[in-house]
Symmetry: C2
Subunit: 404 residues, 2 copies
């Protein structure tokens, strides 16, 4: 019976169970949903139906209370959900609470507290260095191999997959321009990233150790860090990206719990420089994740960035972000930074794929250097799961709308 | 009768009426308070006592609902409060609802949404340029006169005045060090700033025009953007400040409404470069504010930065921050950037006051280059008010606590 008769190897089978927030047609009520195949289970209603103690955590309009509940609760709730979708008597009782995905509206699944973006792919950083500083002796800045470089972004413009992105306007100035000009960005780009969602908070003054990553981070999502390269180039010295990034950041509607990704854990690339103790993960469990990302423009795949190549892990990023005593809040979101593998077809931005517009991408509907109005960018990903199955990540998609 | 028998010219008289959030001894209940002299009026209880329609807006544990209510409500509530503290019959009825300031605990008065920090003082930017790039032809970066440079900071570590600040630890690397070292910051600094608090939100894709500043911004506060210069110097290329700033940002407990500062409005410094239309304030009402700031370490005044010297106004900063379509949320906070006047005694950071540690400051308790453990930094300010009165801003103070 649907939704349980999934095709073998469905990447959203009972081994996955990502969380989202949805509403039904004609209703403004937001509910926590759990995805199974192409259906959404109304998790709060399911908990009530089965008399589960998790009805309070799941009967909410946002994931934040569940995120705040902590690692033990996350595991307990997941164990319960697994039983609900696999034990025949439960399945039967819950069947009316499954809604076909196309029939529901998906919302931003949690309230974003602080948003931080990192810069953790060595291939990406080297490509960017070669493009913007071709004469530098080293394409990496001197700090790059010693700490995961990051900066704060705008949490108020994090939007859920499917939200249109209006082409941002702003100042740009080519080296040959006598003065900056104002107008819609002419170098609108994507950045294929993975976002990590913090559940358990930490108090000010208490750094989070590398080994405590899984106590604090609930799960991950795909993230598109839309970037206006022309705005960014003119504004970013000396205080970093601002308007070139703050117009929109898209995240997938589904948060995949770390518990669904145990088989995807891999050792990160060999560390070429000694690390300070708070970042040294040589003795830790593998901190990388083998996520195979695919980036498509208007349905045409342009890149397949491999997350396993990231130099800095999410655990290292969390340890670094808090080593100065900065607190964590439930709902903090941090992006991995653009994921780029060593091969050309593994680059996670148009900046790299077209070498800052020098080259063009051939799409079925024409050439591209940067994004055109109407372009739809969609990122998908999967990870190795139990028994050869794949764990699907929710897609993140967005369409570029012309500036007014 | 107290609290109404204020000394003549009290900077917290009925012409001021800043808003805060307080709790009474032995109670966890947070209440909106309005300051009159050295007393706090329980504003929600006052509204109930007088049967005011604003009891719902004022009977809250945070200012956010009032901030969200918009300009007309702000003016109406202020008019009501003015009557409550000046009309004798109201004063008599409300006398039991005034609490001496020392008897209450003050809290962060609003929930911070996004926090942005600017870099708007030309004197500060030139000083920093000369210190860090002594060989550059121009101490300002090429973009400085064309746009208000800003970046996002960490909203989760914005704390109320009086909160201790633990000395942050992190990586630093002097040019002569072969590799970075880890430890407590040895160049812990202050930045004297003014923070602007957004009330009325704006939707994504809709820039806020210069002239709409007062529709969106409710008021201002003093802000100390604590900065670990050694951490910052090593990390900030190419993506800007991160851990050097994110450990703590202190704001005053009192938010002064813009309506209390009409007499303090001044024309900003002459613009030396033509501005793009969205930033051109030549035809706008004066966008500067004449705020006289004082910075003291352990009670000894070290600097008196004049806010009227800021090149970029808060209205320009708001227009810039949203020109790419970024939305505003109620509770967004943005800092002016360090306020430094042209004179040595007007510099708003120790970095500038000691020229990056080359010089020392003589304090009664010894010399300083940067902050020592136990140092208490206190910023106060006033502005010209009606009829020669001063409008006091709430102080922002914080004590440095040794790293663990």
């Amino acid at each position: 019976m649907p939704p349980f008769d999934l095709p073998e190897g469905d990447p959203f089978g009972p081994h996955n169970l990502p969380y989202g927030v949805f509403s039904l047609p004609g209703s403004a009520d937001r509910r926590i949903g759990v995805r199974l195949g192409d259906h959404v289970l109304d998790a709060g209603a399911a908990a009530l139906t089965l008399g589960s103690p998790y009805a309070t955590l799941l009967g909410r309009p946002t994931l934040n209370p569940l995120l705040a509940a902590g690692r033990t609760a996350w595991s307990d709730v997941r164990r319960a959900l697994t039983a609900w979708v696999t034990v025949p008597s439960h399945r039967e009782a819950l069947e009316p609470l499954f809604h076909p995905l196309p029939s529901v509206t998906l919302h931003l699944p949690f309230e974003v507290a602080d948003y931080v973006d990192f810069y953790a792919s060595e291939n990406h950083a080297r490509n960017v260095g070669q493009i913007f500083r071709p004469d530098a002796a080293d394409s990496l800045t001197p700090n790059w191999k010693h700490l995961p470089i990051g900066y704060h972004g705008r949490s108020g413009t994090v939007v859920v997959s499917g939200t249109d992105v209006v082409r941002p306007s702003g100042q740009r100035k080519a080296p040959t321009d006598p003065a900056p000009v104002f107008g819609p960005s002419v170098r609108l780009d994507i950045e294929a990233e993975v976002g990590f969602v913090v559940g358990t908070p930490s108090p000010m003054g208490s750094p989070v150790a590398l080994g405590d990553f899984r106590e604090h981070v609930f799960g991950l999502c795909l993230l598109n860090d839309w970037s206006a390269r022309d705005l960014q180039a003119w504004e970013y010295v000396p205080l970093g990206p601002f308007l070139g990034k703050s117009f929109a950041t898209s995240v997938s509607a589904w948060i995949t719990p770390l518990d669904a990704l145990d088989e995807a854990r891999v050792t990160p690339p060999e560390r070429t420089h000694p690390l300070l103790p708070y970042l040294d993960d040589a003795q830790e469990e593998p901190g990388g994740y083998d996520l195979r990302i695919s980036v498509a423009v208007n349905g045409h795949v342009i890149s397949e960035p491999p997350f396993s190549t990231m130099y800095w892990t999410a655990a290292q990023q969390l340890a670094h972000m808090t080593v100065n005593g900065a607190s964590l809040r439930t709902g903090d979101l941090y992006g991995s930074g653009t994921v780029s593998g060593p091969a050309e077809r593994e680059r996670g931005s148009l900046l790299e794929l077209t070498w800052n517009g020098r080259d063009t991408l051939e799409l079925p509907d024409g050439k591209r250097t940067f994004l055109e109005d109407g372009d739809v960018v969609t990122m998908t990903a999967w990870a190795p799961g139990p028994d050869g199955a794949r764990v699907g990540l929710g897609e993140v998609t967005g369409r570029i709308v012309a500036a007014d």
